[in-house]
Symmetry: C2
Subunit: 240 residues, 2 copies
């Protein structure tokens, strides 16, 4: 008799990190329920990427949940503000940039927790990373631990002791190059993933925002060919 | 020179408790930004009640944020399940009922936190109560403390030390009758508030769900006339 796999909710943005987190969850033996929050980001290309990634990595289910954080504004990703470009590693390390979306991962994990409780799942995967990142407070281990503690007092499932919620952040201590190497081992095809904060109308990545720079340097450091199509570089692979 | 009042975000459902919490926030000198989450509850009458309460209690602003928790289901308030009726106090004390909405207050506080950070506010008010209540885990002091800790590690405002987030739950240790007496002292008119989980099509309260029973007994114990219009009791005051 085979046991049916335990369910997990995986937050999936369509980017490189969350695709790797989904592959890690699958590799841990979970049945993966992928959740993408359509929060009004300027880069709707993310949503298409998320759909392709969920299908490619065998998610049991993929839901896109609309939640328009533009109602609150306060970020270059949800309001009409310029995305910073061409920042050095030192500039990125100096503070939290304007692309920070207030309380974004708190909101995302709250939704994932709601769905997990309905599914009877105690495992939530989040592709945050506190090494090669933009300094967002809600990507750090302190945040992940605090949310895990909250989940276990906030829910019927936690309080009744049917299980203990775990927030899995398998990439949190990995450099970008290590994430890419892990993903390759787990069979991730990064071609459909999308990282750019400010893509061209045809979907090409800008190559200059923090997210593009971290991604590009990660592929270079990993010694893996970068499948991204960057604006002005006609030779990249066509989007699939 | 007068100082402009500090801003607070107040979660406002349109019920008796959150109306009292709004009055308490105003009484503490805050400029109140009221937030109502339209989460697909069966009782849309709540939203009208919230609008009337926000106006009556002088909120600086009132926003209704759409977030459809029916996408996840799992509760009598968000799915097609029967709301329990005529339960005794002992039955209510025996466990968490089917009207529990998975992770609801976690989701609501996450949204309030997002808005607070954009507003430059460090104060969030929540009308939860752990005495005369249905045993929901996310109405307890442990939950409120855990979310407060999370807020301070999850946000730029918290991490940069510009202030410390506080989750105010001024009613948490009050019995329903004490809440009603407090509200009366603070000038709350309870006529527009709405508590029923399962109102009649004309908006009359059922008088039999947990929420109606707690409300009705609260008015009786407080010695305050109950302004609620209950189904089948034609003599109640007309809705305004």
């Amino acid at each position: 008799m085979t046991q049916s796999p335990r369910p997990a909710v995986v937050l999936l943005s369509g980017g490189l990190d969350s695709a790797t987190a989904l592959a890690a969850a699958r590799n841990d033996g979970f049945r993966c329920h992928a959740l993408t929050v359509a929060y009004g980001q300027r880069h709707a290309a993310e949503l298409d990427a998320a759909r392709r990634v969920a299908a490619a990595l065998g998610a049991a289910e993929h839901r896109v949940f609309p939640l328009d954080l533009r109602a609150f504004g306060g970020s270059a990703l949800t309001a009409d503000l310029d995305v910073p470009r061409d920042r050095s590693a030192e500039e990125m390390a100096a503070g939290i940039p304007i692309t920070y979306v207030p309380a974004r991962n708190t909101v995302f994990l709250a939704l994932a927790l709601a769905w997990a409780e309905v599914l009877g799942s105690f495992d939530i995967f989040l592709g945050v990373n506190a090494i090669d990142y933009s300094g967002y407070p809600d990507c750090r281990p302190e945040f992940v631990r605090a949310f895990e503690g909250l989940a276990n007092v906030a829910t019927r499932a936690g309080v009744e002791g049917r299980g203990r919620f775990r927030i899995h952040a398998p990439l949190i201590h990995l450099a970008k190059a290590e994430i890419i190497r892990l993903g390759r081992e787990l069979g991730v095809d990064y071609a459909p993933t999308h990282s750019c904060y400010d893509p061209a109308p045809d979907g090409a990545a800008c190559g200059r925002c923090d997210s593009c720079r971290l991604r590009r340097e990660g592929f270079a450091a990993a010694g893996v060919a970068d499948p991204t199509r960057y604006a002005g570089e006609g030779e990249g692979p066509a989007p699939r």
